[in-house]
């Protein structure tokens, strides 16, 4: 859990308080806190003067607007056909071994979440993953180890 504080207000000042501001506001919260809490969504509803159910309705539709706890670095491994053919399973295995979590889980220090995702548009450089918004492509288990080490030292 995190305290959403005056972030919602700041984001609403920036993106406006109309219905269409929901997406950029929710995206802004996720960018900072990695996922949406009930408290944060209620706060958005208050700020935009709409029902919290409306906010939850929008949020729950989009896979990147997570409503369950996510780590600081969300690792999304592409599972669509080309990445599957080019070694996705080894990438997942390496990440699971290194982070000691399974797909769908978050490390106990809340640093990493590991999830699978649908095509992220890097099929010609498969296998590919996203860590937050940054893509990493043409991966091998060795490369993945190096990349994660880089994040561990951040």
């Amino acid at each position: 859990m995190y305290q959403v504080g005056n972030l919602v207000k700041k984001l609403s000042d920036k993106h406006g308080r109309s219905r269409e501001s929901i997406m950029p506001i929710l995206q802004g919260i996720v960018e900072k806190h990695n996922y949406l809490t009930d408290e944060a969504m209620v706060e958005v509803a208050k700020e935009l003067d709409i029902s919290a159910a409306e906010v939850f309705g929008t949020a729950s539709f989009y896979t990147f607007l997570d409503t369950q706890v996510r780590g600081k670095y969300v690792i999304r491994v592409c599972k669509t056909i080309t990445c599957s053919m080019k070694g996705k399973s080894e990438i997942i295995q390496t990440l699971e071994d290194m982070l000691k979590i399974k797909v769908g889980e978050t490390t106990s220090d809340r640093n990493f979440s590991l999830i699978e995702t649908n095509c992220i548009g890097w099929c010609h450089k498969a296998p590919a993953i996203l860590i937050n918004e940054i893509p990493y492509t043409e991966l091998t288990p060795e490369k993945v180890v190096d990349i994660i080490k880089g994040y561990l030292h951040k």
């Binding site: 109309s18 219905r19 269409e20 501001s21 929901i22 997406m23 950029p24 929710l26 995206q27 309705g57 929008t58 539709f61 989009y62 896979t63 990147f64 607007l65 599972k79 669509t80 056909i81 080309t82 599957s84 053919m85 995702t117 649908n118 095509c119 992220i120 548009g121 890097w122 099929c123 010609h124 450089k125 498969a126 996203l130 918004e133 940054i134 893509p135």
Partner: protein, 386 residues
């Protein structure tokens, strides 16, 4: 059947003087621009292939003063990645195409809907947008573009779902009609075009519709950017003249052992080796938004089909029953056939279900699940059963 062979083209990524082309367009009338695009024969490059000139013409004909140009950059079809490359390399031409569309239909506002997976591009795109706004201001064009970001939903590539998403709602497709040209984003007349389509319109204004329509065939004018992946020694992004056969494509990109090409992604068609020669890549044969995936004989087509069905079951918005339940049942169905829990002729029932989804689903997602399903099951039946 007209066959052009395989020819590489360099239109989309060609460096051009943006200001010169925009000035030219600015000095044309709305009708002249629309006529040029109509004459070029350009069809939408996102996959559906609606004639771009007609879309602009219909939007221009609307009396409502507030209109929008929306650029569909929600490139989510498995195996498609050309729009990312276009935005990365020549975003100024995408913006240029939007301004030209704006001039043609009488819209002053443009929105680029960028998929969340491409958010890393945004800082660079915003910088280019700033210099674009400066250039059109100098010319005297009254047109402003802004960005909306998606958040990981394939369905938002469907035009009306994309509008819902821009408006802050769940990305659930609307009933049609009304079509976007009458009632699009915010209920206003909207021309929504794919990234590549918009770049093509700018190139048509520059080179003229005559020279553009020299490329391609009667049904598929021009060139197309292809996203090539799978079992190929040369994966990547290639602009090719339309009108080649799958065989010619495979000769260029195959690894010598290609058994099938999936044209148009998960919602597209599977072409088996025996049909390579007689299948043209284009609207007269197999249409594609650019996704070309090659599979060699080491691959199980059951795994390919299962992967696609899993994709659709997850990405169906769940709004209409044929698609929501259909995707799940197709997935469960092929699993049962594979495990031998049902007789193999159960596949015929599943094909019927896919056909029903084509008729009964509300939007293109549910309607096109049957494309891959039918073509894979028909051509690789043994691989699905055993």
């Amino acid at each position: 059947m007209e066959n052009k062979g395989l020819n590489k083209v360099g239109l989309i990524f060609e460096k051009i003087n943006q200001k010169e082309v925009l000035t030219k367009a600015f000095n044309m009338s709305s009708n002249e621009i629309i006529q040029d695009i109509l004459d070029s024969g350009l069809k939408g490059r996102g996959g559906a292939g609606f004639p771009t000139g007609l879309k602009w013409k219909y939007t221009a004909a609307e009396k409502e003063p507030e209109k929008y140009i929306v650029c569909n950059a929600d490139e989510g079809e498995p195996g498609t990645f050309k729009d990312r490359e276009i935005l990365d390399k020549v975003a100024y031409k995408v913006y240029g195409g939007m301004a030209i569309a704006g001039k043609a239909v009488g819209a002053k506002n443009g929105i680029v809907y960028l998929r969340g997976e491409y958010r890393f591009l945004l800082p660079q795109l915003m910088k280019e947008l700033e210099s674009f706004h400066n250039i059109i201001e100098e010319i005297g064009f009254d047109f402003k573009i802004r960005y909306c970001l998606g958040s990981g939903a394939y369905i938002c590539g469907e035009e009306s779902a994309l509008f819902e998403s821009i408006q802050g709602d769940r990305g659930e497709p609307r009933n049609k009609p009304p079509y976007p040209t009458t009632s699009g984003v915010f209920g206003k007349p909207t021309s929504i075009n794919n990234v590549e389509t918009l770049v093509s319109t700018m190139m048509i204004i520059l080179h003229g519709p005559g020279s553009y329509s020299q490329l391609g065939t009667k049904d598929s004018r021009g060139s197309k950017v292809f996203s090539v992946s799978g079992d190929t020694p040369t994966p990547g992004i290639f602009e090719l003249e339309l009108g080649m056969s799958v065989q010619e494509f495979v000769n260029e990109f195959g690894d010598g052992d290609t058994k099938a090409v999936q044209v148009g992604g998960a919602s597209g068609f599977c072409v088996p080796r025996k049909k390579f020669q007689n299948t043209i890549i284009g609207f007269e044969g197999v249409p594609t938004g650019g996704s070309m995936k090659l599979f060699n004989s080491s691959r199980s087509m059951y795994n390919v089909l299962h992967n696609y069905l899993d994709f659709f079951a997850e990405e169906s918005c769940g709004q209409c029953t044929p698609c929501r339940v259909g995707c799940q049942q197709l997935l469960k169905g092929v699993e049962k056939v594979k495990k031998g829990e049902v007789k193999s002729n159960y596949l015929n029932e599943l094909v019927k279900l896919a056909d029903t989804m084509k008729i009964a689903s509300k939007c293109g997602l549910g309607q096109s699940v049957g494309n891959a399903f039918r073509t894979i099951v028909e051509n690789f039946r043994e691989e699905i059963i055993y």
